[in-house]
């Protein structure tokens, strides 16, 4: 086969150029440590890397969101802990005050401490986060939520709750509105309340009110009325009770002090002797705010217990106060346990996110980063073949017929 002389050079040149281009590409990779510098190097890998990088960015955002939620929830947890402490102290005071040895004066001293505690409670409920936003104002974070007025404490916030996204499909509530924490505490035992009529003249008072075993309380408004049937020569004095819903009778029976009266799922134990026409209202529990409960207790402390009727009024009221305080404590502790669960959820999610981030980084590195061992050996190989090409050219070009002429 005939070969033109300049074909040697043509072929050699193009081969050298190809090898040098490949050498430059490997050199570029080795110096940057990246397998992909623009999408052309690996289009599918670049697009996938982009989505992985976006995933990592989003995880970073979730981390910041989680930190924010954790900070606010921890502050809320602190406030709730202070609230629990204050309510526990008030409950101790209530038990102390319920003791029959207390006098009107000693109860006055208890009332003074209770008033201080109430002020503290309101301050706690008006806590702010580090950025000056109120923790318990719902979404009206710039409005002081609890304001003491003549009629009691009013709530100026709203019922809004805020969430932070901590994972693609998971948001965490980063607080509770003051309405849910302090305002919407079920009154009574949580199912119903028992309230003596103000016109009662007997000494009857209730000592415990529970929900009967196995029967839920049937929501409604009931009136429990006592009637004393005086003794006749043939019969002893008998006290009867009748419960009705509006005008409709629902249950009735006889009463002896210390007896538990059960109707419509309510089980109420009474002490003392009612007078005819004495009434107790048994009504579905409603919401009563914590401050009102404490205020009621302070009001109860002012009851004059010089008379027997006064004593039974005090007893009825302090019983109701204690029940409401228990409800408040239970309610706050429920909220606290929810906050705790959310904090634990955040920690758990952040652990998950860290695992995912690690996995994403590993994949990203697999796509983008250079395998140095392979790259260096390819570099060596390329250099060797370049050298070989140069030597071969030098050898072939040194032979010409003209040299021997």
């Amino acid at each position: 086969m005939r070969i033109a002389s300049n074909v040697y050079q043509l072929q050699w040149l193009s081969s050298i150029q190809r090898q040098q281009a490949e050498l430059a590409a490997i050199q570029d990779q080795v110096s940057s440590g990246k397998r992909i510098s623009t999408a052309a190097d690996d289009p599918a890998g670049a697009a996938q890397g982009l989505l992985l990088q976006q995933g990592l960015d989003r995880l970073e955002n979730f981390g910041l969101n989680a930190d924010t939620a954790r900070r606010r929830l921890s502050l809320e947890e602190d406030s709730l802990s202070q609230t629990t402490d204050a309510l526990n102290r008030i409950r101790e005071l209530a038990i102390q005050a319920a003791n029959g040895t207390q006098t009107n004066e000693s109860r006055g001293a208890i009332a003074a401490e209770a008033r201080e505690l109430l002020t503290g409670l309101i301050n706690t409920a008006n806590s702010q986060d580090g950025e000056g936003r109120y923790l318990f104002a719902g979404n009206l974070v710039q409005t002081r939520p609890f304001v003491q007025e003549a009629g009691g404490v009013s709530y100026e916030g709203d019922a809004g709750v805020r969430f932070q996204r901590v994972a693609d499909a998971r948001t965490v509530q980063e607080g509770d509105p003051g309405s849910a924490v302090f305002m919407q505490v079920p009154s009574g035992n949580g199912a119903y309340t028992v309230n003596p009529d103000t016109g009662n003249t007997g000494t009857a008072s209730w000592t415990s009110a529970t929900v009967a075993n196995g029967t839920p309380f049937a929501p409604g408004n009931y009136t429990l009325e006592f009637t004393v049937i005086p003794a006749t020569p043939t019969t002893p004095e008998v006290t009867t009770w009748a419960a009705r819903s509006g005008a409709v009778p629902v249950a009735s029976g006889t009463y002896t002090p210390g007896q538990t009266i059960t109707f419509q799922g309510a089980s109420i134990e009474f002490q003392g002797a009612p007078a005819t026409g004495d009434q107790f209202t048994v009504a579905t529990s409603r919401f009563q705010n914590v401050f009102r409960t404490v205020q009621d207790f302070i009001t109860t402390l002012g009851t004059n217990t010089s008379s027997a009727a006064g004593r039974s009024t005090f007893q009825n009221q302090i019983n109701a106060n204690l029940q409401n305080l228990d409800q408040a404590l239970l309610h706050v502790s429920n909220v606290r346990s929810q906050v705790g669960a959310r904090l634990a959820g955040i920690d758990q999610q952040q652990d998950n996110n860290a695992d995912v981030a690690l996995e994403l980084k590993r994949s990203l590195s697999g796509i983008q980063d250079l395998d140095y061992a392979t790259a260096i050996s390819k570099l060596e190989q390329q250099l060797t073949s370049l050298e070989a090409a140069q030597k071969a050219y030098a050898r072939t070009q040194s032979f010409s017929l003209f040299d021997v002429l």
Binding site: R2, I3, A4, S5, N6, V7, L10, Q11, S14, R18, I36, S37, T38, A39, A40, D41, D42, P43, A44, A46, A47, Q48, L50, L51, Q53, Q54, D57, N61, L64, N65, T68, E131, R133, A137, N139, L140, V141, Q142, T143, D158, A159, G160, R162, F163, Q164, R165, D168, T171, S179, M183, P219, G220, N221, A283, T284, R286, F287, S400, L401, L405
Partner: protein, 640 residues
């Protein structure tokens, strides 16, 4: 005796010519386009002497080019393809640098914007964070505009290169016509160098544009371009020029003078050479990349705006558009005979396909053609304002004038998408971070029944509108007339009673809410418009997901997917181009080697020829010398 001398002389002359040819081959061994020449000898017919004929020496029959037409044409066409992919690849690589870098591309800018959406979500009432979100929106817009202007710059550069290519083509065509004229005038014996020159010129022309050559009997070569338009006809060359695009005057197309002085656009018919590469890059890649970015901008703006309008701003008003949106560009063909103008709107951004459409009016009806696929598109409607043409997420109508039959219009839905993209909000308080409705249970309720967060179902409902942002605001009240029935009312309207089911939807006045639990007679639940200054972030939580939600292609492709697709597309274009360049380069090199192996000079061969002809020359000299000696001897004998 004289026969011997004349034979010797003829051999001497032949060897001399042969040595000249060889030396010319050696001299031009490195001349581009040189075709080696070969000397052909022929024996001279002898004079018959009775029964025998003695030969009469040698003569040079021809000095011919060692030439292969097929290989020459092959080299020209492979050079043409190589140049096409080189030009295409240069631009594809530059596009890849602009859009394909993960750190500076579109997706990074979009991601930064959404990072700030999350930051506002963490502290929704912070004016500083909100301000920063507006700034991030601005910088997203300016990043997109920057990218778009870089792409536009590539387009302008292509125009400039087309103009330059047209000049070069005209020059080369002129020179080829000149050579043709010389060849034709030299009869059947054109100088080899003339033919070499013409082949070189044709190759140079081929690297600008793909050409077809037709050899004529008179030795001239006719050159055709496009779909058979003659560029060179014998000794006459036609003129090529750039002309403005039919729809877009700022873009240039390549045209050829068809003889009558009319310039005919042949852009779509050109395939090879620099011009073919430039045109292919512009129509197949650059326009597509610009439309893709446009589609991303339109989709992002539409999806973000839709969600933003579901929220409430810091002043208690319903959210407006966060981003400004674009209107499709409509242009008239230069050939239109009427002054009718079309107006187009985006009816459904998620249905946009990223294509351009040509609309033709036949005097009675419209037809729509997809410019990218070339397929006809079915469009509903009559094309009037009352009944616009609806297709591919667009709604198009004649807004003024009356079209004539044969009028054509171009609709480019995404042409202005980037230029028009920007932040529409003027103030940080207008960012609609909050849910627009709030609910609460009455303070004096006799139960613990709860009410859910309300949801807007019809933003245009007058009752809903009076609840939000009205002064004084209207409250929607749900009142339980009994534990099992409820009524819903505002100060001016009441509906009910309805039977109550715990947790069931209660829909009224464009909003929906649920009450759960065991409400008692007289219990009330209220729905109000969110208050100004609300720190709610529920709408931001939804906004932060917008880029991830399926939007395009029937909800299967999200904005962020499209961003990744853009990178993959420009990357694979550049990748394919660089592979194609390697292939074409190898093909061209092989064609060159094949041709060189036939037509190129081999110096060893020439060296051996030189020796051969040198010996022949010496031998011929010897023949003359011998004949001379014989002659001298004879003279001596006769002279004695």
């Amino acid at each position: 005796m004289s026969g011997t001398i004349s034979n010797g002389l003829s051999a001497l002359m032949a060897a001399q010519r042969a040595l000249q040819t060889t030396s010319n081959n050696i001299a031009n061994a490195n001349t581009a386009g040189y075709v080696r020449q070969r000397i052909d000898f022929v024996e001279q017919p002898g004079t018959p002497l009775g029964r025998i004929t003695i030969g009469a020496g040698v003569a040079v029959a021809d000095v011919s080019r060692v030439y292969d037409q097929f290989l020459t044409d092959n080299l020209r066409s492979s050079t043409s393809m190589e140049q096409r992919y080189a030009a295409f690849g240069t631009f594809a690589t530059r596009l890849d640098t602009i859009l394909g870098n993960p750190e500076t591309g579109v997706s990074a800018a979009v991601q930064r914007f959404f990072d700030q959406v999350e930051a506002v979500g963490r502290d929704p009432t912070s004016i500083a964070q909100r301000q920063q979100l507006l700034l991030e929106g601005d910088s997203l817009a300016s990043r997109l505009q920057q990218l778009d202007s870089q792409l536009n710059g590539l387009g302008n550069e292509i125009d400039g290169r087309l103009e330059k290519a047209a000049d070069t083509i005209n020059q080369l065509a002129g020179q080829i016509a000149d050579v043709n004229a010389q060849v034709m005038s030299s009869g059947n014996n054109p100088a080899p160098s003339l033919l070499d020159k013409r082949d070189e010129l044709l190759k140079a022309l081929g690297s600008q544009i793909d050409v077809t050559t037709v050899r004529q009997a008179d030795g001239s070569v006719n050159v055709l371009v496009g779909s058979g338009q003659s560029l060179v006809l014998g000794s006459r060359a036609a003129r090529m020029a750039t002309v403005p695009d039919t729809y877009d005057g700022s873009r240039l197309q390549l045209a050829i003078d068809n003889g009558g002085g009319n310039l005919q656009n042949i852009s779509t018919k050109v395939n090879g050479g620099v011009v073919g590469g430039l045109l292919a890059f512009r129509s197949d890649v650059l326009d597509g990349a610009r439309r893709d970015i446009g589609q991303l901008a339109v989709g992002l703006a539409d999806a973000f705006n839709t969600q933003h309008r579901q929220g409430m701003d810091l002043q208690g008003n319903l959210g407006g558009d966060f981003f400004t949106t674009t209107r499709p560009l409509t242009s008239n063909a230069l050939t239109n005979t009427s002054n009718a103008v079309l107006a187009a709107d985006i009816a459904d951004a998620s249905a946009l396909e990223g294509h351009d459409y040509e609309l033709r009016f036949n005097g009675a009806a419209w037809s729509v053609l997809d410019r990218q696929t070339g397929a006809a598109v079915t469009a509903a409607g009559a094309g009037t304002l009352a009944s616009p043409l609806v297709f591919a997420g667009l709604s198009v109508a004649v807004s003024s004038g009356t079209p004539n039959a044969g009028d054509r219009f171009l609709v480019q839905p995404l042409s202005n998408a980037i230029t028009d993209f920007g932040v529409a909000l003027g103030s940080p308080v207008e960012i609609a971070a909050a849910a627009p409705l709030v609910s609460r249970a009455g303070d004096t309720n006799a139960s613990q029944a709860t009410v859910s967060a309300p949801v807007m179902t019809d933003v245009n409902d007058p009752i809903l509108q009076s609840v939000i942002g009205n002064t004084p605001p209207v409250t929607v009240t749900i009142r339980f007339d009994s534990p099992t029935t409820y009524s819903v009312f505002t100060p001016t309207d009441i509906v009910g009673p309805f039977p109550y089911t715990s947790g069931a939807d209660i829909s009224y006045g464009g909003l929906t809410v649920q009450v759960s639990g065991a409400p008692q007679t007289g219990d009330r639940f209220y729905v109000d418009g969110g208050a100004a200054g609300s720190g709610d972030n529920s709408n931001l939580l939804a906004l932060s997901q917008v880029a991830q939600r399926g939007f395009f292609a029937g909800g299967t492709q999200s904005v962020s997917d499209l961003g990744a697709d853009i990178v993959a597309t420009v990357g694979s274009t550049a990748n394919r181009a660089s592979n194609e360049i390697k292939v074409q380069q190898a093909l061209r090199e092989q064609a060159e080697i094949d041709l060189q192996n036939i037509s190129g000079v081999n110096l060893d061969e020439e060296a051996s020829n030189m020796l051969r002809y040198q010996q022949a020359y010496l031998a011929a000299s010897k023949v003359i010398s011998v004949a001379d000696g014989l002659f001298q001897n004879l003279l001596q004998i006769v002279g004695r």
